[in-house]
Symmetry: C2
Subunit: 253 residues, 2 copies
């Protein structure tokens, strides 16, 4: 399998760095081909701007997603964007390795989505979710957190992990067509000893050896939604973001 790991940490000596090395070693040992986008080491520019396009469809006011569509059709992205697009198109599995900052990815990785997940290629008039451009590929979040598991379990103070990662796993990865694997999460490694950290690294290696056994996040096909953009009558919500809100159940006060 072809695997792209996008990695967002400035310190090779970090636990994120150790997880990256473990992933590369485990996947390579398993006969997979691996490419890494080490965003800090590359000096990746996360700020979307007019400089991202070598040719413009519209003069004047920059309409970013419309210029993306034009750049897809004319292969006129800046070189740094095209290189990342080529890696995403090449891969069959995308792994995101990052520390969870503000319930999300570091800015350098957010900008990777902003600039690389282009309209007209990753999503577009042809569709999104199960009809998105990356249909047939899989993606997995691997993140380090400063919290404890109970904090992101049901009723936990941070909200459920499905809520924390909704924008990323659903709104970004699933949106463009990836099948999303259950995330790999490490908890408060700062407070753990070397033995506990070694167990995390073993856990990631083991998961990657059995990657085909990792469960997928539930996803409604877009045909589950009607012309009003809502789940059709009779289809029960299977995902966190589609369920009823507190206080809206029939009979609730």
């Amino acid at each position: 399998m072809k695997v792209l790991i996008v990695y967002a940490h400035s310190q090779p000596s970090s636990f994120n760095g150790a997880l990256l090395r473990t992933a590369v070693e485990s996947l390579t040992a398993g006969g997979h081909e691996v490419k890494v986008s080490d965003l800090y080491a590359m000096g990746f520019n996360p700020v979307a701007s007019a400089a991202d396009f070598q040719d413009r469809r519209f003069e004047g006011h920059l309409q970013y997603d419309r210029e993306q569509k034009h750049a897809v059709e004319h292969r006129s992205f800046s070189d740094d964007i095209q290189a990342e697009i080529d890696k995403v198109l090449w891969c069959e599995l995308l792994i995101l390795q990052f520390p969870l900052w503000w319930y999300s990815v570091p800015a350098i990785m957010k900008g990777w989505f902003d600039r690389v997940f282009a309209n007209g290629l990753m999503y577009g008039q042809f569709g999104r979710f199960d009809k998105g451009g990356m249909k047939g590929k899989r993606a997995m979040v691997s993140t380090t957190t400063g919290c404890f598991p109970g904090m992101v379990e049901e009723g936990g103070v941070m909200g459920h992990l499905d809520a924390v990662l909704w924008h990323l796993q659903y709104g970004t990865l699933a949106y463009v067509g990836f099948e999303v694997l259950e995330p790999f999460v490490t908890w408060s490694v700062r407070y753990e000893d070397d033995q506990a950290r070694a167990l995390y690294l073993q856990g990631l290696a083991e998961r990657l050896r059995r990657i085909d056994d990792v469960p997928l996040k539930a996803l409604h096909p877009v045909d589950d939604f009607g012309k009003d953009w809502k789940l059709k009558p009779g289809i029960a919500a299977r995902t966190f973001g589609h369920q009823k809100r507190p206080g809206t159940e029939p009979g609730s006060c």
Copy 2:
């Protein structure tokens, strides 16, 4: 009232630009003091790095949040970060104006949180949420989207807006202590005519004239959570992220 607007769009001629100007005009006319952080115009650097600290507590491996705490205590942040921190401390209302990209803020604004919302000041051992450092201040998201309202209503294809914005409104703004106002959202303005756009601008101006009437998002005080970090028995979830997941209700299959 003292109002800080953080703005993330590269094009003054955009609808985001029009919303920014409308907000400044409406607030100023109402007698409020307004400061604007125009992140693109400032060339704001969103990438957290060792250069963010003029003095280091720990040599070698960069532990970002621990260095933040040290920099708060010694006022040793880089000048660009300290300037933003001073604005946040100054304001009583924080408004975020941005286009919704990947269910979130553009990278240039994500990096503003990463670098400015410092450990030891915005949150820390003293607390978070209703005990966070920004306690007593309010915050409001104002965002432009490419979708239609039904898409982010209950059962909508994007997930409910409370799920889309959970990481931002709960995991970032509420986390550091802001009371979070209902967001101001504009829908698919690209497909609207000038009259509809003018109505949006009037709507924002009117909302800011009546800012004290804008409802707050529900929030559980941290004392609602037990030592296991979960909602105490008998306390019903009032927020989207704390409710039960689909399929976990008693008696569900």
